[in-house]
Symmetry: D2
Subunit: 382 residues, 4 copies
């Protein structure tokens, strides 16, 4: 693998996760320690940038990310900045000829996303979205099974991501609750992951009928503050989704799933088999085989819980085999990007893929406003 | 309890369940053996009626249910006839002054249902729907908790009933797949139960946005037959449901839930607590208490699986405590009806309640056809 | 089936379960209503006998069970009397030429049991123990799988039955806690079931090393009483068990399993497969197939939850398919006995089988006293 | 924290896990990158040592660990060498005044272990065992609950660790199966972890009655080889364990747990509460509270699944909150050691603690040989 220099842009909670994952990659994949390097980090203020650099163990830090784009030893950026800054950063990175690893959601809107995708395609740089959940071995295994015909004709599917992160009405109006910064609510934050998993496993979207709901409409501007502001994003999003091949399914995203920590579930029902995944048990996949023969034991049809890790190259590290963590799937996602950059092969899922998810979310918002099915094509023309 | 004489009208699979449940009631509730009696049974043909009588252990059998309505020792009918015969039977029973225990769904349509409800109200007879699932102790407990404020403000809810009963495309076109006989598909057959549970636990409905889908559009007319007929009912129904108080939730019914046997689940999310029920574990309720104090043990917040049986009068029988069965919840449902008849108290859920479920289902079908939210009031005026 | 007349002797909690199960048998197995009959019931006092008869729906009741043995229309007795009365009743029934259905444990001791088995064998009557759990379809299925070679060479096994029935030190000294009445504690009451399941699935016993423990050594003589009596039976029994074929495993019985309702679990580990059963989910068996091929889907090895009901003749009734209950497995057990009597075929498990369980329990008590492995042959010579 | 220099001695599978964990510690605990450092690594051969150094990112490597002991910038060793080398390495490290972090089991025998503990105590160096499982937040939480009186009087406990790692008879005779190298089998390898958890949660041991079994007695010397060697360690160990306070419980270790990956479970039953832990769900603890009040909701007694992470200082990192991995609990264990060294506070669990586990295992082997209860004091005098 050719050495890749990375500049991290943004370093909040998710930035730290990316940084930790970069550290582990050489171990997980048996790479030489110098196969890639986090060269520098940019945040909005010098003091946070400096602290980030110290934590990451890199020497360069700045409050102006353009300095990092100017460096020849930076080949790629990792964009962990808030959603509303993605467009500007991506356009600048593309102009500088840097490859781009970008947190989800891609953009604030389809219009923004389209400008971004055009820019990176014109610049010829590689891009990859942080759709980290699809890199759990169980999800890779699910896709392999589907491609091999295990499920057969898909009757329908369900995906959901519930968290309980906003059930407290006294929780202040964070950036995630302000549309001008986040672009959207539960659907953008949690639903994007579910939509990507459905897209990865079952293919492209055709139309959507959605109901988006803000359950707590006002929140304190700050912790303990008596002053309140309006929540203008959804806490709960319910979607009927129709795929390009006509398959109908359900997608849910909720920040008000009382009792849930990270309740992400996928279910796929087909005429030959069924598949279930739960983030609560991410090393396993549950599968049901309709074609299970009756002999020699008189039939053993039933959901079985198959171990999904340690079956593919690159999965032999300890944390895949015993309770793979959140950081571990980020490491896999980042490794695939680094490998694509080093080997000059396509990176997947690209920003173009991210734009498709953006389009479904925008169609969903439109559907919720207008109370009707909305074709993805109404909001996004490829 | 005053002695109640019952006439069973219809005796298919569900009729046998009712008959078995009647047998067990004296045991479960400590009643004298002669507190009620199945007097007779009517089916469509003399030979099936005779066999039914023998199995039930009653002396009267007939292929003309009107004979049973004419008997003074029959005080109530138990209507297990196919859906398309409900109206006729109920109108005749009401005219004869008999109380009516009626299998779900109430009717083929809201129009039919309205005529039926008018007739029974005019006749002043008691009616009760076989919404048996609400009689599981866990569901009674859920309602008690909700009434006591355990859940607090309801954020949202989900209900689903998945079976895999029709995933085989060679399964013939049974009566359940023909609209003229059944009135509807997965929604009528499975969804009615889920809707009743939501109604029982959370209250009345306001509007619905639904997608109904027929996944296998043609089936053999008979087993092994080359000749095919059209399936004109839904295999899968996805509903966004809005309650009268504005609460939004999801309801699903599917006959194509590959791998599922009887996957009925209810989830309710509130600002003070959450509740989950699964038919796979019907003796228990899972509850999450947001107000759980942090002392003395530093906080023990988490879903807990509470045993729901043996907490109410009438639950001390063996089959509530160790894996209560399907027949057991029918016994409870029937006992409540018998008790209402004997004591002259209101029977619940009545046909008027059944009509509300009918109305949501009709609104859902309309919504699916027109691709929009439909108010229940559009199809049903109380 | 030839008509069989049954006399119930003893009618406490378990007697009611048997009575309820008799009522359901014609339904479950499609028998004519007159194929068998509970003719009469005997309890220790006339007033309880009369109430029992009313509940059962039989005409004969008595406080002297010998009256029932004298009746020619009684072909079999169902012995639900306390353990310490089993010997006397069984000897009298055998002398009267009656077939015997007997609750577990067989006897107070191996010596008693041997006298009972000799008597019934000499009398040529059929006997069957109420080892009801082995009649759950999932256990029948487990045995079928084992016989078909699914598990292969058995490496080891585990069985446990935990209840929390005696964790309260203020619970009074009931008959179950007095050795002179019950014969033993957790091991006799709960362990007997586990031992029978192991015996049924894996075969005969060879030796045992056990620790029996009384955790609460004194209890009030009656509820609220300040006077205390000594508990002289075990609350907890831990056994290492060696089978005749050398296989080693664990058996546990506990009345002090805090939080447990009926936590009965069986696990069998073999070189070709593994099997797990839990009473919490009695319709299913979990199986793991070591020989699962890697093709066509790259290997789907994992525990699978197979539905065990509705695979055998006689299982088509509703309560097998949806959460089979405690009463249901008693019905199957009783039906097998009635069938053996009617058809003059061997009844299984017989009292001779019950004696084997008795012998392991007596060897366990001896092992616990002496702190060493005890051969079953030391306490019981066949 | 004072800077700590570490020398790794031994670098097989578990050495890599330790190395990966060291990398993550600064992130997890917010430490400066230079707060500690892996200075060098020793393995048995120069080429493996060199590769290890490259993977770790340290500059010093050697095939003679004494070179590392001679370095002043090495303050502590991390002993990941095979069990049979522990004594020699520990004695040398103690003589060199180095602190010692040591993989389990401590030694090949109690005699060895006693010599080691004497040496380190005389040298005044800090020692810590790699009993990593006790550092899962759920286990820390369990201990906190027990100390706070949640469980009350302990009735009994169970612990088990099942793997299926040796069910294939063609798996060759690895070092783990040769007593002269490993010192013991399933009990040493898996049982040691369970015993440490019981010790950590419930206290010291008094006596043991055990059965150790070798299920596959001969194995190929190498993969595919026709030549076979004798397995002289246990595949399966069943223990009745009595604690110093008289509490009785069960401990199991098995390498022949067909279908199990890492099935480690702990259950504790008390008069006030019960606690369950499963490694399959290591972020959660299941607890049952007997004292749960009946008001205000009529009683909500039941096992509840409490989230155990993110409740203590130092747990705010991503991999505790979403499926903490195997590496993560090693990081916590190592961090506690580094902290003790830097702050000059006692390290726990020390080698003296490790010796207690060793003593129970030796008593268990003796008990299995002699078929009787063996006091720990018979094999180990403190």
């Amino acid at each position: 693998m050719k050495k890749v220099g990375i500049a991290m842009i943004g370093y909040g909670g998710i930035g730290r996760v990316h940084a930790m994952a970069y550290r582990d990659i050489p171990f997980h994949y048996g790479l030489p320690a110098d196969s890639f390097q986090v060269v520098g980090v940019a945040t909005s203020r010098p003091e946070t940038a400096r602290a980030a650099a110290q934590e990451i163990g890199c020497e360069v830090w700045t409050a102006d990310y353009r300095e990092l784009l100017a460096r020849p030893d930076v080949h790629a950026i990792d964009c962990c900045a808030p959603n509303y800054r993605h467009e500007e950063i991506v356009l600048a990175a593309a102009a500088a000829g840097k490859h781009i690893y970008c947190e989800k959601p891609l953009a604030m809107s389809v219009a923004e996303g389209q400008r971004m995708v055009e820019a990176v395609e014109k610049a010829g740089v590689k891009t990859q979205m942080t759709f980290n959940f699809r890199f759990f071995p169980a999800i890779s295994r699910a896709r392999q099974l589907i491609e091999a015909g295990f499920v057969g004709r898909v009757f329908s599917f369900r995906g959901r991501y519930h968290r309980a992160s906003y059930i407290d009405p006294n929780k202040p109006l964070s950036w995630r609750l302000r549309k001008e910064v986040s672009g959207g609510g539960a659907l953008f934050d949690l639903g994007a992951h579910v939509l990507d998993l459905i897209y990865f496993l079952l293919g492209d979207f055709s139309s959507v009928q959605a109901t988006l709901e803000t359950l707590i409409k006002e929140r304190p501007l700050a912790a303990g503050s008596g002053e309140k502001g309006t929540v203008d994003v959804d806490d709960l999003a319910l979607l009927h989704v129709r795929l390009a091949d006509g398959t109908l399914g359900l997608v849910e995203a909720s920040r008000m799933g009382t009792g849930a920590t990270n309740d992400l579930q996928i279910e796929i029902f087909g005429d030959r088999g069924a598949i279930r995944f739960s983030l609560a048990d991410p090393s396993f996949l549950e599968v049901y085989d309709v074609r299970e023969p009756d002999q020699p034991f008189g039939g053993l049809r039933g959901f079985r819980k198959i171990e999904a890790a340690q079956r593919y190259a690159g999965q032999k590290s300890p944390d895949w085999t015993m309770a793979p963590g959140f950081v571990r799937c980020h490491a896999e996602c980042q490794y695939q990007f680094l490998k694509a950059v080093a080997d000059d092969t396509p990176a997947v899922p690209s920003m173009a893929d991210g734009l498709k998810i953006q389009a479904v979310m925008e169609a969903a918002a439109c559907s919720s406003d207008e109370g009707r099915w909305v074709d993805v094509a109404e909001v996004y023309h490829e």
